[in-house]
Amino acid sequence: MSPNAFLHGDPGRLPFLGHFRADRAWGQGTISVAGRIHSRGDVVRAFRAARLIESAVQSTSLDAVSDRHQALAAVWQQLYTIDACDFGTDNGSDLVVLFVSSDTVGTGISGVGLGGVWALEDDVFAPLVQGDHPLLSGPGRPEQLAGVLTLDQAHGTIVGVPHDHTQPPKSTEWQQKCGVHP
């Protein structure tokens, strides 16, 4: 089961302004990325920045990657090469992103700007990270990620909520809230 990352949208009529999602597979595992950028800015720049991030994830070279940590580091490094001005007027200081990186040994999650992370288990969301966990940092683009939380079991669906809208996901509406349309 390859875990997929999703991010809750914001309240309002345009909940997915600046939202992005990308999934990559490499020899022994996968990495899934969901986030938002420039979400309080103008729609054109937010869209451009979001597609730029997706493109960066898709173009990250994962050929030499041998475990989930390296995959995560490679993707983060690729995001870090994007010029700050391409992230919109806030220069990336409003970046919210959830990474879910997995290999044959296990799954790790990381990110910035998150208010909580949940996993869908038997149609119920269980908290993975909430409260004052060190993984829950402010938004932005630090040189290094806050860290990686290794999960003790596999999950197919992992949902993050941004730091400014921390309402937990519900199994009945998480797809709608994350802009997922199966």
Binding site: L14, P15, F16, G18, V44, R51, H181
Partner: protein
Amino acid sequence: MSAIADLDPRRDLGLIRDRIEQQLVRNEDPGPTLRDLAQRNPIALADLVIGPRAPRDVRWVRCALESIEALEEAIAPNGLYRQLVKLSPTLQEEILRLAARRHPAASWLIELSRQIEGQQAGLIHLTASSGHPSFTQNCWAHAAAGHLPGLIAFTTQSGRPEPAAALAAHKHTDAAAIAIVRALEHSPDAPVVQLVAAAWGPDIRSILRMTLPHLRSKKAALSLQRHGQGYADFDVLLQTIISAMVKS
């Protein structure tokens, strides 16, 4: 000149009605009489416009629309406009236009639009409110009510991106795709793809693919390609179609 200057609206309502009807029979302009009444007693005016014994003459109602402020003083707009439409079906579009201009954010306009415009519901309301802060809310309300042809018609004539986003937000994906194309045909720089993504979710490829059968010009297709950058597989598909299109 008012034909009722000597009458008291509180006491002589029957006489006032008779004189108005006489004016209409004689083909005289009832405007001065109506304005006199509007100034002196808006409730009496409302009674003589939409009351059970009001003169049934389209000239009278049309004239009354010019004193709509006085009528709104006497009757709540929701009931007033519905009754005006009921009594004067030939003026219904004019009445809806007036209502939309005066109350662009009113929720009752959604149902009234459907009643009057049928398949094209929303066109008059959105046209009238396109410069008002309630415009986006109105697009969402018409999309929620299923007024798809009206939203598309408005997009065709205005090039605004909001209707497409509203349609996508309410899962009317094929209509959203049509609206995307119509918006770009009208205004190639309209941020319609971006707004649909903001309303729908980051992956709008399924909607973008639905636009393809509706593309009628190379110009719109090139605009769509420019705005849809970032969806690589859709870009490849669209490029194939563009290369087969004649210039238009």
